[in-house]
């Protein structure tokens, strides 16, 4: 329950309210995580938050987090400047099935800040290109200025066997891309359901609709994974806050196969 001291090494602005922080350990801590895992980030005297790791899993000397400001604690997090300290606990939780997906096509579906916990998967697949088939990234954000990692998206799109599709809810006059919900991108991708593993992260309603749409298109529920979110105070299954039916999202998840949780997704106020 004791955070280790880490230092902010780089802060970069992704969107008007979202920043990426790169942290390096003091006192001999070390990085290393599985894609999809999260840490508890503690700001001195303010509080602690569960934040997904958004960096490259091959990078062992640092941990990267992309944080959107939605309240006082997240605001305090993104207001850290280079050289300042943060407390880090973790990494915690079950990650994305990057091992099970070996030899298969990988479909990444993200909504908004949901791309952050999926970026390690993209890095991992690109780092181990021969181990995976096609990589398809379907990404939706509220508006063009809410799109995360825009340079990287363009870079990924240029790689062999990678398809990047983006869409926004509201485009504005200068937007020449697609407008619509993320499921509207599915008709543009060449999906081979039997050989595809899908990893989905975004608002719960978006994940529910994506899961429904993908299973309709022939994807097996066991090949479809969602990353769930609930209030978390401890990250290790003690505080009880993240309970979702029988699951503790912090230790049983946050990534779950759709086949295990499909009935729970339809339970309002569970």
């Amino acid at each position: 329950m004791m955070p280790g001291p880490w230092q902010v090494r780089r802060v970069s602005k992704e969107t008007p309210d979202t920043f990426t922080l790169v942290l390096e350990p003091l006192n001999g801590g070390r990085g290393g995580f599985r894609p999809g895992q999260f840490s508890m980030l503690w700001v001195f005297g303010v509080g602690e938050l569960p934040i997904s790791i958004s960096g490259d899993p091959a990078e062992e000397k640092s941990l990267t987090y992309t944080v959107r400001s939605v309240g006082p604690a997240t605001q305090a997090l993104i207001s850290r400047s280079v050289g300042q300290e943060l407390g880090v606990r973790g990494p915690f939780g079950a990650g994305w099935p990057v091992d099970q997906a070996r030899g298969r096509d990988v479909l990444v579906v993200a909504g908004g800040i949901g791309l952050a916990p999926l970026r390690p998967v993209i890095y991992h697949v690109l780092d181990h290109r021969k181990d995976y088939g096609r990589l398809v990234i379907a990404y939706g954000a509220r508006s063009p200025r809410d799109l995360l990692y825009r340079k990287e998206l363009a870079q990924w799109a240029r790689q062999k066997d990678v398809q990047v599709l983006t869409t926004v809810d509201y485009g504005g006059v200068s937007w020449r891309g697609r407008v619509g919900v993320v499921t509207s991108l599915f008709r543009f991708m060449r999906l081979q359901p039997a050989r595809t593993t899908a990893m989905v992260c975004g608002p719960e309603i978006m994940m529910r609709l994506v899961a429904r749409e993908l299973t309709t298109r022939g994807l097996a529920a066991g090949d479809l994974y969602l990353s769930m979110e609930r209030n978390m105070k401890c990250g290790v299954g003690f505080c009880g806050h993240c309970q979702w039916g029988p699951h503790f999202i912090c230790k049983d998840g946050p990534v779950f196969p759709y086949s295990r949780i499909a009935p729970l997704l339809d339970r309002y106020e569970l």
């Binding site: 503690w42 001195f44 005297g45 300290e85 209030n231 003690f238 009880g240 806050h241 106020e269």
Partner: protein
């Protein structure tokens, strides 16, 4: 398995038991009367025990009343459980100091005093086992709980009377205190001037203490009479939870009119979760001094009945009282089984007694399972 030592202890020897434990360096914590209730606090001697008191409990009501026979443990349960001492309502996790933008964490002060608990009921042993499972036996271990839990000398007392709110017998958690998890099990037999304890030691530590107490050998008849008193307590229980198919029935009735009905009565005050001996939910609170050079992080009991419990950016997941009551009852009787293999309810009945409006989970569970929405009769 160490042999079970079985003796007969004169009633007044309880005083010696406390002194013997204190003499061995234990801080003795036991039942005592405070503010009209039996609570568990540090006791100096047998005078502090609630001798001559009994409790009258029913939904939404608890009163102490005198009893004439001088029984030491002639009551059932007060509002507190041993959770109060093993997993306190507020715990400081750490203090941190900051200078030049860097902080230093000063570890928590873990409880290290050897402690002895006297008067632990069977249902409370089951509750301690349940909390052990959550906090010690998962993939992570709570060091603070471990430090408080480790080495506690437990003197359990089997119940020879049952409150109308008790239902341990139906859950198999009482009223006979099992040998596991404790050092000595007492059963108080009181019948006019015939007042004594059946004292059973579990393991060497308990036996060694019993040896000091001038205990007499116990006869077959003593054992039988003590057993009969406990059996009578089990038989007198009127409330029950029928476990067969309960989990499935609750799962199948996630939507049910009864949830709406109970939500109209429930005040969402969280009393049930505060008195529950197995409820383990906590929240974290951060404090800092005005200069921002010193901060503390505290862990505090939390309740799934508060609106903020399920808050994530944008709002709470469980906005309705219905959803919060359902979360609590489902966790106790259904999802706890998925998580830990047993129900999260030990049948102590505190949630019934201490509910300001007297909501009875045994009644709610029965109603939900009996009148399934699908028209099937389950229980």
């Amino acid at each position: 398995m160490p042999e079970r030592k079985r003796t007969r202890l004169a009633a007044e020897r309880v005083a010696d038991l406390i002194q013997t434990l204190a003499g061995r360096g234990y801080t003795v914590i036991g039942p005592t009367v405070r503010d009209g209730a039996v609570v568990y606090e540090e006791i100096a001697d047998a005078q502090d025990l609630p001798r001559g008191w009994t409790d009258r409990q029913e939904p939404g009501r608890y009163r102490l009343e005198p009893r004439a026979d001088g029984a030491w443990f002639g009551y059932n349960l007060g509002p507190q459980s041993w959770k109060r001492h093993l997993f306190p309502p507020q715990t400081k996790l750490f203090t941190a100091e900051r200078a030049d933008g860097l902080f230093r964490i000063l570890g928590p002060e873990a409880e290290r005093r050897p402690r002895a608990f006297i008067g632990v009921r069977a249902c409370e042993l089951a509750a301690i086992a349940a909390q052990d499972q959550v906090l010690l036996e998962g993939p992570f271990r709570d060091g603070l709980y471990a430090a408080r839990r480790e080495g506690v000398f437990i003197v359990a007392v089997s119940c020879t009377l049952a409150a109308p709110t008790c239902f341990c017998a139906s859950l198999g958690t009482g009223p006979q205190a099992p040998g596991e998890l404790c050092d000595i099990v007492l059963t108080e037999v009181v019948n006019g001037a015939d007042h004594w304890f059946l004292a059973e030691a579990e393991g060497a530590r308990g036996a060694e203490v019993l040896d000091r107490l001038a205990a007499e050998p116990c006869t077959e008849d003593d054992s039988r009479r003590a057993g009969a008193a406990v059996y009578a307590a089990a038989q007198s229980q009127t409330r029950r939870v029928d476990c067969d198919g309960l989990r499935e029935a609750l799962e199948d009735n996630f939507e049910h009119d009864r949830w709406d009905a109970v939500a109209r009565r429930c005040l969402a005050c969280g009393n049930c979760t505060m008195v529950c001996p197995t409820c383990f939910c906590t929240t974290m609170e951060d404090f800092s001094d005005v200069e921002g050079s010193r901060a503390e992080r505290w862990r505090r009991w939390d309740s799934c009945f508060t609106a903020t419990f399920s808050y994530i950016h944008g709002g709470s997941v469980r906005t309705s009282v219905k959803a919060r009551y359902r979360q609590w009852l489902m966790h106790k009787l259904a999802t706890w089984i998925d998580q830990f293999g047993t129900p999260g309810c030990v049948g102590c009945g505190r949630c019934i007694t201490w509910c300001p409006v007297g909501i009875d989970l045994t009644e709610e569970a029965r109603a939900i399972c009996r009148d399934g929405n699908d028209g099937n009769t389950v229980a």
